[in-house]
Symmetry: C2
Subunit: 191 residues, 2 copies
DNA sequence: TCAGCTATGTTTACAGCGCTAACACAGCGT
DNA sequence: ACGCTGTGTTAGCGCTGTAAACATAGCTGA
């Protein structure tokens, strides 16, 4: 049973309950604090410390889930990329994810995760590799690594700039169009 | 006189003192709070509210200064861009700024500034225009707007990814090299 | 000259935060 | 039956942003 109701003193699966409470708050735009998450899960404000070392650990767990979701968006239910325009759709999907789930995106990025063994680092690396693989398939001659970095950078930068309001667009459709244009523009420069 | 020492009750130029105290703390990596800034300026913890509506207003003022500095780095003391590699140097300079002044960079970006009349928005727009001008000069045939967006996005994305540890490099020289490679790789794709 | 207005600073206070320490309860193995 | 271990609670510290009430000082005009 995934949601054991709390039966008296003990909860049953508080860790999962905290994670889903935190994710819901993130999704719904509420400012989230350990205390608020605990309140939402119906436990005392210090109960989360039994399951997460500190606030950062909770955020880290959320970020890992976020990376899984992003990877699924990018890779799942999609034909393998065959040409440049397919790669542009990667960027579109990436930016769309950031704008649909802004708070989660900020948790995933936006903080240095210094711990080299951090699950987040692995998750981010998986992303980088997915990109490099796709690029290598479409453009086998190019420097896949540099190109993957560039592609990720481009998508990530646009995502951040739209998220922070540095770039603006009326609708998510317009955002998608502009991301496509930007991608095509910079890949059409040539020497 | 730019730095009137506080002479008794009144300070003289508290606003500037607060800004420079805050900037110093940002540069030196100390976590910065309104109270800490006030302490550093040698005034009571609520004095800053006479000069800044709230914490966000102080950050906003810092961000504007940051944008001016970044613009100066990008535009000042540099020959006008004449070819593609010069544009790559824009990206290198941008990322270098982010890594040299990480906390300031996070203040400049990283928060949505919803207010349309915000000085920050104008400052960011100035950046975008500088880029578009430079691109128009180098590649007059291209869609300058889309290309400027792409260039900014690429530089910004790489800056964020390095800043957050999602991409890693040993030295700032290595970062510069990789930024250059990424820029060249994505502009050499062609159809 | 001096009364008072305004700008600018201080004191006090509140609620929320992350986090720690000490304690309470429950279920498990022996 | 006993107590160990895991999981929850209560109390409390020091920090934060912010508001309200008060104090001071310097300018302005009678």
């Amino acid at each position: 049973m995934s949601t054991l109701e709390k039966s008296g003193y003990h909860h049953g699966d508080l860790r999962a309950a905290l994670l889903s409470a935190a994710m819901e708050m993130l999704e719904s735009g509420e400012p989230f604090s350990l205390r608020a998450v605990a309140r939402r899960a119906g436990v005392s404000q210090t109960a989360p410390y039994r399951h997460f070392k500190d606030r950062d650990a909770l955020e880290s767990a959320l970020a890992v889930e976020g990376f899984r979701n992003l990877l699924a968006d990018l890779g799942g239910g999609r034909d393998l990329p065959a040409a440049l325009p397919d790669l542009a759709e990667f960027a579109v999907t990436y930016v769309d994810f950031a704008l649909r789930r802004p708070a989660l995106f900020r948790v995933m990025f936006g903080k240095p995760c210094d711990d080299a063994a951090d699950e987040r680092v692995k998750a981010a690396d998986a992303l980088h590799e997915l990109l490099a693989d796709a690029l290598d398939r479409v453009l086998p001659d190019a420097d896949a690594s540099a190109l993957a970095t560039a592609g990720w950078g481009l998508a990530h930068g646009l995502a951040c700039l739209y998220l922070d309001g540095k770039l603006q667009a009326a609708s998510s459709k317009e955002v998608a169009d502009r991301v496509r244009s930007a991608f095509l523009a910079i890949t059409s420069v040539g020497p």
